[in-house]
């Protein structure tokens, strides 16, 4: 009886850790999804912005000893937002609507990714950097332990999604974004300033990925090329959920993060990446349109 109890407890623990990871993956996935769904640009520098968000937080923590997470978010998120808007303005905008611009923008953002990665390498060095835990300690509801950090990550993730949903449904910019993702020409005809919305989309997406970079940094270390792996995972999540579909992204983040947690618990961490790749191949072979999106 006791044995089974421990087993059940472990499973619940793994489930919780999966859900917590899912909330961060979902934030990151939404950022990737909107940038593609609305501005039609696939941003290869996404993983680098993930790293840069974490590096900026690390910089604040190491410079000011009194620094804490709320202030870090208050400072880093606007900076990331501005960085994203700047990227759209300087790097992407002039390429838009030219021949094969979707591929040109991919190459140019890939160039940007290399630039940002190597800039991080030069400024911060090759050694992996840690961030302090968001909160130390844990609580014990119903007999199993839950770290407050996980709980906070979950709350932050959920509230970001709720706020983002409200933003899409209620605000002018949010509604413009929806309109553009449904029918770009129509949106332009009715007078929606699409260029401006593209800028905001880039900014928002970059802020979201920077945020997830900070949230995941206390768990994993920050290194100059460390953004590519989460980027790949989130890409699989978004592909699985259907590129451009926000609800699909949410579901697939939940499904895949929980599966990931169970695989790393039962088979070991080395199997996590092959698992992602297998999911990816499966999605490709059986449902390239994803759970609820349309490809091509």
């Amino acid at each position: 009886m006791m044995e089974i109890n421990i087993w059940v407890q472990q499973i619940i623990q793994v489930l919780i850790s999966g859900i917590v990871t899912a909330s961060v993956y979902a934030i990151m996935g939404i950022g990737l999804s909107i940038i593609y769904g609305i501005s039609r640009v696939f941003n290869f520098a996404y993983g680098s912005f993930f790293t840069w968000g974490a590096y900026l937080a690390w910089f604040l923590f190491s410079t000011f000893s009194w620094m804490n997470y709320p202030i870090v978010f208050l400072i880093v998120l606007p900076v990331m937002f501005a960085l994203g808007m700047l990227t759209e303005r300087i790097v992407v905008r002039s390429l838009r609507w030219r021949a094969n611009w979707q591929v040109t923008t991919m190459m140019v953002t890939l160039g940007l990714a290399f630039f940002l990665d190597n800039l991080a390498l030069i400024i911060f060095g090759g050694f992996a950097k840690p961030l302090p835990p968001i909160y130390r300690g844990g609580i014990n509801p119903f007999g199993f332990t839950l770290s407050v950090q996980d709980l906070l990550m979950l709350i932050v993730g959920a509230s970001v999604m709720i706020i983002f949903g409200l933003f899409l449904a209620k605000s002018y910019i949010g509604m413009s974004m929806q309109a553009i993702s449904q029918d770009m020409t129509g949106a332009e005809i009715v007078g929606i300033p699409i260029k401006k919305v593209f800028s905001y989309t880039f900014g928002l997406s970059t802020a979201l990925v920077g945020m997830s970079g900070i949230l995941l940094a206390p768990r994993y270390y920050i290194s100059p090329h460390g953004g590519w792996e989460p980027f790949f995972r989130v890409f699989v999540i978004v592909a699985f959920g259907g590129l451009g579909s926000i609800r699909g992204t949410l579901y697939s983040a939940l499904i895949l993060a929980i599966l990931e947690a169970f695989i790393s618990w039962s088979l070991g961490a080395t199997w996590v990446l092959p698992f992602w790749f297998l999911v990816f191949l499966g999605v490709l072979a059986f449902r390239p349109s994803g759970l609820m999106g349309k490809w091509g």
């Binding site: 021949a99 094969n100 991919m106 030069i122 699989v236 990446l273 092959p274 790749f277």
Partner: protein, 324 residues
């Protein structure tokens, strides 16, 4: 059409042969300088790879970023066969090419139906997972993250090339590169190539004539994976060592830069680009970490400065610029 195509073929072939004649005479003047010969061999390897990439991307319009994954598959298969099983290098190289081709087809079968930008994403994902997969597959003989070492040298009919003298390597690489480019040429100026021209000029009409876009793309993708795998297996026997670092972003950046600087045309764009980039790479070596920062910036600036020049020759078949 046929005549014009034939003339163009002859013109391009003359360019190709001229470049290779120059390349085959060049070492006679600098044979004493092994540093330059080494640089030239590197140029040949990456230039051929860039040229095959260019053929896939610029001519057939398949936006693949997975060429390095095929390169690594070819290199690893050939290296492992020769090292662990003692397979003659000629056969192991062929096996490397076939293995890369198989991976290419596995990815290509579901993927070639999708639009251009998705192909780019998927092949890039293949590139990203290939390194970790090789590390996990350590027990199978890939050598894990340290890599495969002491790989047998290339043997041609009982004569084994020694790594101390570079000239035989240079000429072996030159011959291989020439053969690969001839295969690429044969393809471009064959019925398949004509099919792509048809698809470009009038997609609907070409399709009603029975040109199967999917089949053609898959064919080109498979061939390109095969050729890249062969280049990879030549590299592995030349270098004698391979590790997952070959999938690092630095080399990828360099080869992409060859493509961008060389411009996307069939030939000799990327091939010449490889010489420019690798010499630049050598000149900038003293800058250490700043080198790749500069290369990243060059990519951005080059694409922004000549987006049409770079991609101008991309055909309409892959034109994804229509607003959706």
């Amino acid at each position: 059409m046929g005549v014009r195509k034939n003339m163009q073929f002859r013109k391009e072939l003359i360019t190709l042969v001229t470049v290779f004649i120059i390349l085959s005479v060049l070492p006679l003047f600098i044979y004493k300088n092994s540093y330059f010969i080494g640089l030239l061999i590197t140029c040949l390897i990456w230039g051929t790879m860039a040229a095959v990439w260019n053929f896939t991307m610029g001519y057939a319009g398949i936006f693949t970023f997975g060429q390095f994954a095929f390169f690594a598959v070819g290199a690893y298969i050939s290296g492992m066969l020769a090292k662990h099983l003692g397979v003659p290098t000629g056969i192991s190289m062929l096996a490397g090419g076939c293995g890369a081709c198989l991976v290419g087809l596995l990815i290509g079968i579901p993927c070639m139906r999708l639009k251009g930008s998705y192909i780019a994403l998927i092949t890039w994902a293949l590139h990203l997972v290939m390194g970790p997969m090789i590390k996990v597959a350590g027990p199978l003989g890939t050598g894990g993250s340290t890599g495969l070492m002491e790989i047998p040298s290339l043997g041609i009919g009982g004569f084994i090339l020694s790594r101390t003298s570079l000239m035989p390597w240079y000429y072996a690489g030159l011959v291989l590169s020439f053969l690969i480019l001839i295969v690429v040429y044969r393809f471009i100026f064959s019925s398949v190539g004509l099919g792509f021209v048809g698809l470009r000029d009038s997609e609907e009409f070409a399709k009603t004539l029975g040109i199967n876009e999917y089949k053609y793309k898959l064919l080109v993708f498979g061939i390109s994976a095969f050729l890249t795998g062969i280049v990879g297996s030549f590299y592995v026997h030349y270098a004698g060592i391979i590790s997952p670092r070959i999938l690092g972003l630095d080399i990828f950046l360099l080869v992409m830069l060859m493509l961008i600087i060389g411009g996307i045309g069939v030939f000799p764009g990327a091939f010449i680009g490889s010489f420019i980039v690798l010499i630049l790479n050598d000149l900038l070596r003293p800058l250490e970490a700043y080198r790749f920062l500069i290369f990243g910036a060059i990519v951005i600036v080059a694409i922004k400065a000549m987006p049409e020049g770079l991609l101008g020759k991309f055909n309409k078949l892959t034109d994804v610029s229509q607003r959706t």
